[in-house]
């Protein structure tokens, strides 16, 4: 039987020609996950993935080639061929800072597996006690990615990113009412403590036991981190390289201009402790930094990978990431951070005599990101009266324009930031506090 080898040849052996302009990067990603869900067979999985990518600029055109198994010389050959029809580019492959030449050691230790199992069982057992028909779902995973980068200037660097993620939740179905709760915790060093997660889920489940009805109208709404992140997607789209290059972004000439509320400061932070993307380099070997995108509502900077930066004549700042190993480099932030305010969640609840708290939003994404209109079926919505959560609200559609919501409608930024994982519909992880937004349109089914 034929064998296809993953490591067919060493990166060091790649033979560049004199005068070549390009880079070669090898990614190795490993994930260990333990999952348990009510009624289903528990699953322990481990996956390893490798991807090799070569980019080369020939005659001012960019060529690239990727493969999981192909040898380096063949990849370089393919990249040269690809450059014949490639985009014109002025992309540079600059010096790579020294100090990253050693290959870092994996942080994975198989002795962690029993601990993963214990954590899964601990939370699962806790959730089972919510009610006799609560269906828990728990998973604990460790993600690690090693990147080895070489470029034609002789630069070389190797770096590792890794983090633990615990996600837990579940639901109880009563008649045709699904009462769901979920949450996550992320940490770089060790399996995150789950006591606060368990307590948060218990509190939410208690909040939702009683159903309340509301009327159509405009309400102040606290957008908890998962839905606050959804509001940021149109903002990130307007800031991203492809939208700017295509001329689709209304913010293309707005640097230094007030575009959102003065209460809002948005940062891409590659150095934040426990960040899933916290590392000295992005996925294309550009040194990363903490970069202000919007400061007190004023547009500071754009999200540009190396190629986009060269086209727009900006300096690349480490915004080139792959969503998955097989996807191309995209213009994405490292970790999206909204600078927290000072109000604790309990204080936000008391800001209005009557308000709503939104934590789940089915379909809550922009139909047109450049325009920013978002509407979604509220799947996790609570009514607050006089600072107390008095029940869960069903059959309500929340509609906002993201730019208005983060502009004139934004009343306060909370203090309690939480991690939001990168997901199927979300290109970057976030560290986001609750946002109090006034005048939010709520349509309720009678």
């Amino acid at each position: 039987m034929m064998e296809f080898k993953v490591k067919s040849g060493e990166l060091e052996d790649l033979q560049w020609r004199k005068g070549d302009l390009g880079d070669a990067i090898e990614y190795t990603r490993q994930v260990w996950t333990m999952t348990r869900q009510g009624g289903q067979t528990p699953l322990m999985r481990h996956g390893s993935e490798h991807m090799r990518a070569v980019r080369v600029v020939e005659h001012g055109r960019l060529g690239f080639a990727t493969s999981r198994t192909e040898g380096w010389d063949n990849l370089l050959k393919d990249a040269r061929i690809s450059s014949q029809n490639g985009l014109k580019t002025a992309m540079q492959f600059g010096q790579i800072p020294s100090g990253y030449t050693e290959i870092p050691q994996s942080q994975w230790d198989e002795q962690k597996i029993p601990r993963m199992g214990a954590v899964v069982e601990e939370i699962y057992t806790f959730l089972e006690k919510f009610s006799s028909e609560f269906r828990p779902t728990v998973s604990v995973s460790f993600h690690e990615a090693l990147t080895e980068c070489r470029n034609t200037t002789g630069g070389r660097a190797n770096w590792l990113r890794g983090y633990w993620e615990v996600s837990a939740g579940g639901r109880e179905v009563d008649g045709i009412d699904f009462h769901s709760v979920s949450g996550i915790r992320i940490s770089q060093e060790q399996i995150p403590s789950t006591s606060s997660l368990a307590e948060e889920l218990r509190e939410r489940f208690e909040w939702g036991k009683k159903l309340r009805t509301i009327e159509n109208g405009r309400y102040p709404v606290i957008f908890l981190p998962p839905v606050a992140m959804a509001l940021l997607e149109p903002v990130l789209a307007r800031l991203s390289g492809p939208a700017l290059i295509a001329g689709n972004s209304p913010w293309e000439n707005q640097q230094g201009t007030q575009v959102l509320s003065a209460l809002l400061s948005l940062v891409s932070d590659a150095q934040l402790q426990n960040g899933p993307r916290t590392a000295p380099f992005d996925d294309e070997g550009t040194p990363t930094q903490t970069c202000s995108l919007i400061s007190q509502g004023i547009l500071q900077d754009f999200i540009l990978d190396r190629d986009s930066a060269s086209r727009l004549q900006h300096t690349p700042k480490g915004f080139g990431y792959r969503n998955t190993l097989q996807s191309p480099i995209q213009s994405l932030p490292s970790t999206v951070v909204i600078t927290p305010g000072s109000a604790k969640f309990d204080e936000l609840l008391r800001r209005y005599p009557r308000l709503l708290v939104l934590n789940g939003w089915i379909g809550g994404r922009a139909t047109n990101p450049m325009r920013g209109d978002i509407a979604g079926n509220a799947s996790d919505l609570y009514l607050v009266e006089a600072g107390e959560v008095v029940g869960r609200v069903k059959h309500a559609v929340i509609s906002v324009n993201a730019f208005d919501a983060l502009g004139e409608q934004l009343r306060e930024v909370g203090a309690d930031a939480q991690w939001i994982a990168q997901g199927m519909m979300q290109g970057a992880p976030g560290y986001i506090p609750p946002l109090l937004i006034d005048g939010v349109d709520v349509a309720v089914k009678e």
Partner: protein, 468 residues
């Protein structure tokens, strides 16, 4: 067959040897070679073009009620991967015993592709040229068109699957699709409209889009000054494309049995025989529709595809199963266990979800509507089982039975259990729509699926939108 890899029967015989392990309830090995072409264009230039090979596989082992799953790139050290999968299955705490799974009759099969026009025999240059021509069509259609972005992909897969119950399958698959997004921009703002395409056997579908792209550009421009929908409760007419997404989001996901097992509350609602919709509502899921992106004659557990009636005569009559969920609910596997790629274990997924045609002429769908919404096309949808949301690509106001003017930001929502019973008319205009998107679940996205449907009229649909 598009590509000859020169692999001999050594693959199958090696895998058959490797799955012979004692004390393992289920053991399956899957190997894949994937060849993918992706092209992205922006206006008059190719922005990204790749041609990649994925070679790898996975091993799944079930030992005393726990699954171990390992995926890997390359075809090396297969025995070690089998050892690891078994080890992972035994490392976990033993849980409640798993009901004994039925083993469908073993299959020994080789399935080759039968194509109309093979995308792998069309050069990348020709593919790019076709996309750039559509870009030109979009730009010429209206002066407000600011950009035209085209995305094309094709993926050829060659798979070998062997389990320890004597099933051995060698299979070829093809999936291709993409979209063309036209963006209009003026002082009023930004509007976009897209054309989507897909197939599992014919590159020809890419060659027939000129009129669609032209219409999309005109529509995008017309949406620039469209007012936003005022949120509220409306009668809605949805076109076949959106009706298909509705069937997928509003009912298909709920019919996936992995969402039901272990949930006594939901199983009480999802009993077979429950009345769900009008008597002329027939929703089914099929893997046997050749050419559709949901075509799947054998699933990723080696189970032959069954056509599954989910709702017939308005009554719940079936659900979608993997081998495990079928065992847990004491029903039969339906061939709905699917994995996006060798990096994932199979989970219960839809294939081609179909609403059968009804008997209402298109014009009659609007009769008697004083104020309502006509929603066309889809930008996707989402569900949590109980609630669904789908995003219409275009929306128009219906006034006194007539479509009058465009609106923007049409988001239709509802409760699955109540909305199906609010369907009051099923159109005759059954349409086989194939998009270039896909379904996301459990981190596996985009899985190729299809939706075929007629237009529907739905009463009391909650539509998102800001207040007047």
């Amino acid at each position: 067959m598009p590509i000859e890899y020169g692999l001999d029967d050594g693959v199958m015989s090696t895998l058959k040897t490797l799955v012979r392990r004692p004390n393992v309830d289920d053991l399956e090995i899957r190997l894949e070679i994937n060849e993918t072409t992706e092209i992205n264009t922006l206006n008059d230039s190719v922005r990204h073009q790749t041609h990649t090979f994925d070679v790898g596989g996975n091993v799944r082992a079930l030992v005393k009620g726990v699954y171990g799953f390992v995926h890997f790139d390359g075809w090396e050290h297969l025995e070690r991967h089998v050892d690891e999968a078994i080890l992972l299955a035994t490392w976990s705490k033993e849980c409640a015993p798993m009901p004994r799974m039925s083993h469908p009759a073993p299959i020994q099969m080789t399935q080759r592709l039968q194509l109309k026009e093979n995308p792998l025999s069309v050069s990348s240059e020709d593919k790019s040229r076709i996309l750039l021509e559509y870009s030109d069509v979009g730009h010429r259609a209206h002066p407000a068109i600011k950009s035209v972005t085209c995305r094309y992909f094709d993926r050829y897969r060659h798979l070998w699957f062997v389990n320890n119950h004597d099933t051995a399958i060698e299979q070829e698959k093809l999936d291709m699709g993409g979209n063309i997004v036209v963006v209009a921009r003026d002082r009023q703002g930004v509007a976009q409209r897209g054309v989507s395409f897909g197939s599992s056997n014919d590159f020809g579908v890419v060659r027939e889009l000129t009129d669609d792209v032209h219409d999309a550009a005109q529509t995008a421009a017309s949406l620039l000054d469209a007012p936003e929908i005022v949120g509220g409760d409306y009668p809605v007419v949805v076109d076949p494309q959106l009706a298909g997404v509705f069937a997928h989001e509003a009912f298909g996901h709920l019919g996936e049995a992995d969402g039901q097992v272990g949930d006594p509350g939901l199983l009480r609602q999802m009993y077979l025989g429950r009345k769900f919709g009008p008597a002329n509502l027939h929703i089914y899921d099929t893997g046997s529709d050749i050419g559709s992106r949901g075509y799947l004659p054998v699933d990723d557990e080696g189970v032959p595809a069954q056509d599954v009636d989910l709702i017939r005569d308005g009554v719940l009559v079936g659900r979608l199963h993997s081998r495990e969920t079928a065992a847990r609910l004491q029903e039969s596997p339906t061939g709905n266990a699917r994995a996006l790629h060798y990096r994932f274990p199979p989970i219960v997924r839809m294939r081609n979800t179909v609403i059968a045609p009804g008997d209402t002429p298109f014009d009659d769908l609007f009769q008697g509507i004083t104020k309502g919404i006509y929603a066309k096309g889809s930008l996707g949808g989402q569900t949590n089982g109980e609630l669904f949301t789908f995003l219409a690509a275009e929306a128009y106001l219906i006034e006194d039975g007539h479509v009058t003017r465009p609106l923007r930001n049409a988001v239709l929502t509802g409760n699955v259990f109540t909305t199906l019973s609010n369907i009051t008319a099923v159109g005759r205009d059954f349409t086989r729509y194939e998009s270039g998107g896909g379904c996301g679940k459990g981190g596996q996205m985009p899985l190729p699926v299809s939706h075929h449907a007629p237009s529907l009229r739905i009463e009391h649909c909650l539509v998102g939108g800001r207040q007047q």
